[in-house]
Symmetry: C2
């Protein structure tokens, strides 16, 4: 035995002291005291305190987060849909014959009213045309460029700033307590991976999303290249979320956070596990600071059915904790004033 | 500012001292000095020494390992194939009509010669019947039970003991230097996940394998259940390996280890990235301590084409490093004597 174990042991003790000191400061300063904040803190303490009957070994600490509407703003339109619409001119430029074909013709017209009437089938055509046919490196570069320049219509800010500060605190708090944090999104896995590490500290391998196939081949110089194909491998929404979690993680999460009917099965699956489980549902009820929709009214027509009252009734029935944005959050965004 | 940063800083210094002390002992004691060992050590030093022109940031340190034949014995038959054959009686018990249908009839006969003549198509039928139709929890329990009791024909040991000690050292050495180690296997992802954590210290979320679909539903008591379906989502072999790596990890590995033609694209894809890249190909040339096959002769008939001379010629061409089991490894298994 060398000196190493004793140095490491000393180090572990010092780390423990450091972590205890950290625990005495509020890990969730943007949250008001209330049942939601209490549920998070109690869950973390119960699952990470050695000797607790609900202790979860570090390697099993998995927490999953829906992205649109749970970690950042999804209204009035998913940012990835905006990206795809913005990409249409470039796609038509490369394939001019599309200019006269629907739904591309309508998108090119710029007529927002006509665009709002496009069907789901039209939308899939647009997604397929704008999200496939290029290498994964080209796709990453295009998406990065768009994220750097695009601005939302209300706050005139990059989409990557429209993250909820209280949820960023939850991510950090869980990670500081040994949890691996995952995004589990209906959005495109490759798209969300472009910014998840910079915005949330979540690396690409911890982003589970809707997956399109790629095809391995070679470019003109003979270098290997992965090309994005218009073939769906996993629709990571609804029942696809627990299926995607099994495929990508292989463990049932201890905690899950969502906000819409697409998260129902993920919350249910998480909560059905043994031991301590935390399932949380974010209610958008703050028309002033963000938006109010679903049971909180003001639901845009395009989203009828996505936030039914029944989902919130189920929260009570299944023991999910509802986060009310209006009352539970002291601040919504990092940029919206308040003390930082 | 509390006391915490200074404690953490002190801790970091102590850890650094500890790691330097550790670095002075040989991290690969089961390897003979030679080009293979040298390549591994130089790669790790080049990519993890701050200020090195080939430095790789910790979050980008990804190393991928084929499993059968690279981390443990694959001869004379993949352990998962043995598992599937062993499961046939239970499957026929549940569905007695299969007893008279091929290929189940042949498997039940126990006639090894007849079984060796089964076609790939027959094998797929057996895999589908034995690897789907149950919940993921039931599958895990069955596989665990088999792994605990099954013994290989040569050493009469559990398959989980047939791991290569030198490769276990490489896994640990890479992890001690901040690498995330992944298995990337043509074997079933759910099967390998059952033992990867215990055997290799590789958690389920770092096992990339051939993926069958699951279906989310409910059991009789109304509890959520994921059922394994006979539907292939990813054939994680050949070109499927880089495709699977992109899907599951989303980054190109810095290092990759394989042993057969099924690993060719993974090695090629890894090596084609910028900066320092390590691609290694294990040659089974040790008939005495393990097996000799491929260019080293003694290739079982069932595997013709899997280890062609052309693969080893390509290693030279592409700058992959060949590991010769006979000369590069001081010891092969933890149980085969030698000093531990």
């Amino acid at each position: 035995m060398s000196k190493r174990p004793s140095i490491l042991a000393l180090c572990a003790s010092l780390l423990a002291v450091g972590l205890r000191a950290a625990a005495q400061t509020d890990p969730l300063p943007s949250w008001n005291d209330g049942p939601a904040k209490k549920a998070i803190v109690e869950f973390v303490q119960a699952t990470t305190t050695q000797g607790s009957p609900k202790f979860v070994p570090p390697e099993e600490r998995i927490a999953t987060f829906d992205q649109d509407g749970t970690l950042w703003v999804e209204d009035p339109m998913y940012s990835q849909v905006v990206y795809c619409l913005d990409r249409v001119p470039a796609v038509v430029n490369a394939k001019p014959e599309l200019a006269k074909v629907e739904p591309f013709k309508t998108v090119l017209s710029g007529n927002r009213e006509a665009m709002a009437k496009l069907s789901m089938n039209d939308l899939f055509k647009i997604l397929a045309a704008t999200l496939s046919g290029m290498s994964v490196d080209e796709f990453r570069a295009e998406a990065r460029k768009w994220l750097d320049t695009a601005r939302d219509t209300r706050w005139k800010r990059p989409y990557t700033e429209l993250t909820y500060l209280p949820m960023l605190e939850v991510l950090k708090y869980l990670r500081a307590n040994g949890y691996k944090t995952y995004i589990v999104t209906g959005g495109g896995q490759d798209f969300v991976r472009v910014y998840a590490e910079g915005v949330y500290g979540i690396p690409p391998e911890q982003v589970v999303g809707t997956v399109g196939a790629t095809k391995y081949g070679y470019d003109k110089a003979g270098k290997p290249v992965l090309t994005k194909e218009p073939k769906l491998l996993l629709n990571d929404d609804n029942a696809g979320k627990p299926e995607g979690i099994h495929m990508m993680i292989g463990r049932r999460p201890s905690a899950a956070f969502g906000n819409s009917i697409g998260d129902r099965q993920m919350l249910e699956y998480t909560k059905a596990g043994d031991g301590a489980r935390l399932a949380m549902l974010l209610l958008h009820d703050d028309a002033e600071r963000e938006y109010a929709y679903g049971p909180a009214r003001g639901l845009p027509n395009t989203k009828v059915g996505t936030f039914p009252q029944a989902l919130y009734d189920e929260a009570t029935k299944q023991g999910w904790v509802v986060i009310g944005m209006k009352n539970d959050w002291k601040r919504v965004f990092a940029f919206d004033g308040g003390h930082s």
